[in-house]
């Protein structure tokens, strides 16, 4: 009990740090893409503490609930988003032994959480009492039914290949060098990875799929009426989930905490022979996973600052007409590939 409590605290702080880092990193990467500097003042030359400064500023803002808003739902929505966002880390393993709760059906649990996330957006948009917010929320609903099916189909491919829904088992099935990663397992799994990444971007409401908050059309979509701390919670959750989804992608397809080259195996660092090798492996595992997750996140950020936004009918076309058949091909292709290689 105490250990779980401790783990929650560590995860909570760690995830907040990662989210704050990602906010800063996005601003820096965006600035670099756009040929400008980004934050430069707060916390030294690179503006390290920009997120902290923003957080403090947001906490001092006036708390506004519009008169037309449904007050209770309006208040609940951001915290629902936050709760769902942090629930990801309950089952998300950071390394073979660093997982709060090792659940047999972790992959399905996370997919369910991804589906739950939309309720926050729907509630927030519905409760705001603003037309723009409601349109944003309805767009989210349309988007969800479009991307969820291909997303689930692609997320099932590693389950299929490893024969388990436990994320630790899935990652361990990819040990021993990058050629064992599921993304390089077959051309179909490779295809599946990219469809997965596209659908996760849609799930994150990030450009080019940021329709629920489409700034130039819907002012800020479901976030229009939110300000101050509640807005910050929504925004932080977005980054938390972005990191979580990237980590999930890394675990499912990119070998999780297993490095690209099996260095420990070459060096003969057997954890039975050397007890300290256990710690080294776990530490290296975390670093591996973080680096992979960050690279996926970088890809998502990169796409955001390069591509224009799709229209709602184009999102549906893209997800249902292109991603879904591709996901089906990837799924059955992987299945047949596995049968053939057995």
């Amino acid at each position: 009990m105490f250990l779980i409590f401790l783990a929650s605290i560590i995860i909570l702080l760690g995830v907040f740090t990662v989210a704050a880092f990602l906010v800063w990193a996005e601003r820096k990467v965006a600035a670099r893409i756009q040929d400008r500097l980004g934050p430069t003042r707060v916390g030294g030359r690179f503006g390290w503490l920009q997120s902290v400064a923003d957080g403090i500023k947001i906490l001092t803002k006036e708390d506004i609930i519009p008169r037309d808003a449904d007050s209770a739902l309006f208040r609940i929505a951001p915290y629902l988003a936050l709760a769902v966002g942090f629930s990801w880390f309950v089952v998300l393993p950071f390394s073979e032994h660093l997982v709060v709760a090792r659940v047999e059906s972790a992959a399905v649990f996370l997919l369910a959480l991804a589906g739950l996330e939309i309720y926050a957006v729907l509630l927030g948009g519905y409760a705001s009492g603003s037309k723009w917010s409601l349109i944003g929320a309805m767009r989210e609903a349309v988007q969800v039914v479009s991307y969820e099916v291909p997303l689930a189909l692609c997320a099932v491919i590693p389950v299929l290949l490893s024969g388990s829904m436990d994320l630790v088992t899935i990652a361990n099935a990819q040990s021993g060098g990058f050629w064992h990663w599921f993304v390089f397992n077959s051309p179909f799994a490779f295809l599946g990875f990219w469809v997965f990444m596209v659908c996760t971007t849609a799930g994150l409401n990030r450009a080019p799929f940021d329709l629920p908050e489409a700034e130039s059309e819907l002012v800020s979509g479901y976030m229009t009426e939110y300000s101050g701390f509640r807005w910050a919670v929504f925004m932080l959750t977005e980054y938390v989930i972005m990191f979580a989804v990237s980590a999930l992608g890394a675990i499912l397809f990119l070998g999780g905490w297993h490095g690209p080259l099996p260095i420990t195996a070459w060096l003969g660092l057997d954890r039975l022979a050397y007890p300290w090798a256990f710690w080294i492996q776990n530490l290296a595992g975390i670093i591996n996973l973080l680096v992979k997750a960050m690279l996926c996140t970088l890809g998502i950020i990169w796409a955001r600052w390069t591509l224009p936004r799709l229209r709602i009918d184009q999102v549906m076309t893209m997800c249902l007409k292109y991603c879904l058949p591709l996901a089906i091909v990837a799924f059955f292709g992987s299945l047949l590939w596995k049968l053939g290689s057995m």
Binding site: Q34, D210, L211, A214, S216, E217, L218, L307, R309, Q314
Partner: protein, 406 residues
């Protein structure tokens, strides 16, 4: 089904009800991020579908024309700056030429070339804002930054010339305020070379981008006939395939400035191809003449044509003899009579009317706004489009509310 019917909150025979969505009046603006200033649009929508768009204007009305009847012609120049603040040089030029037409004076050769340099540079700057904010309307932030980076260099050049970055009041009746400073020509050359290298970035991010094409091609198609009926001019008219450019087809006092210059009028032919297409990205198959993509591409095309014109003008200016013209005195009396002149501003044909009655102060000063006419076609274009198309269409018309309201 039968179990549901027993629920008290459902009306009797609810199955026979036609399920109908309600129409919504959505107020877009005047503080909306993508109405380019203080335009207010009232949208009648059914879900995402926009049935009708009604533009409401007047939030930026500053009585410019009335002021024009109380100051002398030279003093009205700064007010023309503030109409279309993104292309102030062109506005100055339009008013200056109109009054010069009434006075019957002509600017010396060197002054004409200097005016061409400044007007075309300002056209580039103005189109850069149009293109950049258009990308912003479609949810792409990066081209906006690239456009403003390049525009900044033009503003620096203007600042060097006249000290102002936005409202120049530099082209005045009778000439320009001053000659170019030393070293400016070389700096301008350097800018053009740099800028030509940066232009392909915009083409990659926008013109050739798959998502950009799918968002703009076939959206908001403006047939040429309708464009003429509504008095649309500038890139909006040319995007519909009508090769009409006042720099070639205008009145002599204006076209004489451009007679020696070689440039193409940016307008697609019936099949959607542009003159000298080979140096530009190909026209996508989805694009229809008169749609948002063509209106956007006409601006990109004009940017490169303007670079070409400025290059020639720099050469002609440095070889021309004489002075750049002498600004007329504030006490210069306007003869009895009237003069009307339209010039090709970046947003379309900007017309000025001046009526004199033997006094330095015009009896009537009138501005015919191109943005106003271009905006009037909006409700025709936005019939039955999706909500996301409305900013795409408004952005492609590229209006400046300061000019619409005057």
């Amino acid at each position: 089904m039968s179990r549901l019917r027993r629920n008290h909150w459902l009306p009797e025979h609810w199955e026979s009800y036609e399920i109908r969505t309600e129409e919504w009046l959505v107020n877009m603006g005047p503080q909306h991020p993508s109405t380019h200033g203080v335009l207010r649009l009232v949208l009648r929508t059914r879900g995402e579908l926009v049935l009708e768009v009604t533009p409401y204007i007047g939030y930026l009305h500053r009585c410019a024309e009335k002021i024009g009847e109380n100051v002398n012609a030279q003093q009205w120049i700064p007010y023309t700056d503030r109409m279309d603040y993104l292309s102030a040089m062109n506005m100055n030029l339009g008013w200056a030429l109109t009054v010069e037409k009434l006075l019957g004076i002509e600017v010396p050769e060197r002054g004409k070339h200097l005016r061409v340099i400044l007007a075309e540079l300002n056209r580039i700057a103005s189109h850069l804002v149009a293109v950049g904010t258009y990308a912003l309307d479609l949810g792409n932030f990066t081209p906006f930054m690239y456009c403003f980076r390049e525009r900044e260099k033009i503003l620096n050049l203007f600042e060097w010339v006249c000290g102002a970055r936005l409202t120049y009041s530099f082209i005045v009746i009778g000439g320009v305020r001053a000659d170019l400073p030393k070293g400016w020509l070389q700096a301008c050359e350097n800018f053009l070379t740099e800028f030509e290298r940066a232009l392909p970035e915009l083409h990659v991010l926008l013109t050739e981008n798959k998502i950009f094409i799918s968002r703009t091609a076939g959206v908001g198609v403006l047939p040429p006939k309708l464009a003429i009926q509504y008095g649309c001019t500038g890139p909006v008219l040319r995007g519909s395939g009508i090769a009409w450019d006042l720099r070639r087809h205008g009145e002599p006092i204006y076209t004489r400035m451009y007679d020696e210059y070689d440039f193409q009028i940016a307008a697609p032919d019936i099949s959607g191809n542009y003159p000298r297409q080979d140096v530009f990205p190909p026209v996508p198959g989805e694009a229809v003449v008169g749609d948002c993509w063509h209106r956007f591409f006409v601006r990109m095309y004009e940017i490169s044509q303007s670079i070409f014109i400025v290059r020639q003008a720099l050469d002609k200016y440095s070889r021309a003899q004489g002075n750049v013209g002498e600004p007329v005195k504030h006490s210069q009396k306007l003869p009895v009579g009237e003069a009307y002149l339209e010039t090709e501003c970046p947003r379309g044909q900007m017309g000025f009317l001046v009526v004199g009655n033997n006094s330095p102060i015009p009896w009537r000063a009138r501005a015919r706004s191109s943005s106003f006419c271009n905006l009037s076609v909006l409700s025709e274009l936005c019939r039955g489009v999706l909500l996301a198309d409305v900013p795409a269409i408004v952005g492609s018309l590229d209006i400046v509310l300061g000019e619409v309201d005057r």
